[in-house]
Symmetry: C2
Subunit: 202 residues, 2 copies
């Protein structure tokens, strides 16, 4: 080594700071997403994550038993919660709120080449189902039922099938053209697809 007349044996670049606990954990999560974005799920390696987080593999394996567990925790940490969706009890605005939430989830996923993950890993998929899919489905169905009772929509319009249409269109858009997953898109889904469907002739 050429530099550092002081007593630093290795690489001079790293400042002599050493992260611990929660701070390190967050850096690791961030590194996971960085890697996912750069090399995709197929290319995700523990060495890569460790390097991106500027740490070693030991701290990774001290926290998580394997790659999949790390991934699930990283995702869980970053995803928004369906509980935070602000519902007003009014059909149109509630539909918009729920679909917006799904968009934000999709955006995080698209950001990080993450659809792959959902398919690849059963553990990740289960977590997504529990935290995202099921709660939103339930909420939408309740919204539709309330609207139907109020007479806002045609009788018989609130079904599991119609409740799934919004999420279906959003996730399909996410798969085929993630760039156009905008708020205007959400609006037109509600106004041109969902409301006509719910009010149109049976």
């Amino acid at each position: 080594m050429l530099e550092s007349p002081t007593g630093e044996p290795r690489h001079a670049a790293a400042p002599p700071t050493r992260r611990r606990g929660r701070e390190l954990q967050q850096a690791i999560y961030q590194a996971v997403f960085e890697q996912l974005r750069e090399v995709g799920y197929a290319g995700l390696t523990m060495d890569g994550v460790a390097a991106a987080a500027r740490t070693g593999k030991a701290p990774l394996y001290r926290r998580w038993p394997d790659k999949e567990a790390l991934l699930v925790d990283a995702l869980r940490d970053r995803l928004p919660s369906a509980d935070d969706i602000p519902l007003a009890g009014e059909l149109r605005s509630d539909l918009i709120a729920i679909l917006r939430f799904l968009c934000s989830v999709c955006t995080i996923c698209a950001d990080t080449a993450l659809q792959m993950v959902k398919q690849q890993s059963e553990a990740v998929h289960a977590m997504m189902r529990e935290r995202i899919s099921e709660p939103t489905r339930r909420m939408i169905l309740e919204t539709l039922r309330a609207a139907e009772e109020r007479g806002d929509t045609r009788p018989g319009s609130a079904t599991a099938l119609t409740a799934g249409v919004g999420p279906a269109v959003i996730s399909y858009q996410n798969l085929t053209a993630p760039a156009e997953l905008t708020d205007e898109f959400v609006m037109s889904v509600v106004d041109e697809v969902l409301l006509p469907m719910l009010r149109g002739p049976a």
Copy 2:
């Protein structure tokens, strides 16, 4: 070796038949799908395919430059063609026909843990888009336009957005509950989602 007093040096099981050309190619394609079903895309190996096809790796690499190329060809060989969809020029029955086609594609995919593939491999994804997604989207949009001109549906109902709803619902179902991707499901999508949407109030 204990058996075969005749001059068979190795394994006695294989009959002395040796496939060639097209016959062998089909056996290989079948082996690919067998493997996909058994071990999934992540677990797909050339050795595995060769073994399942009861052949060696040389014939594989003589035909395809790498794993991805083999996969794309196997898929292309098995997928139905959008050109074969029988259209009658009538809204409801045409929608049903197109969605049925998508279902058959989805079923083949679900059969073989193949959604993964679409995500994983850009080449496969491009092929699916060209052969499946684009043609069906185009056909649906034309069907909707014709119906609108005929006055079968409300003015302004035939858009890229509404044309995407059917495929969206089908592929979403395929992702979340592939077992329920039945013909009854197709019917209810058309009757409870698409027709109300196309005829309901703007």
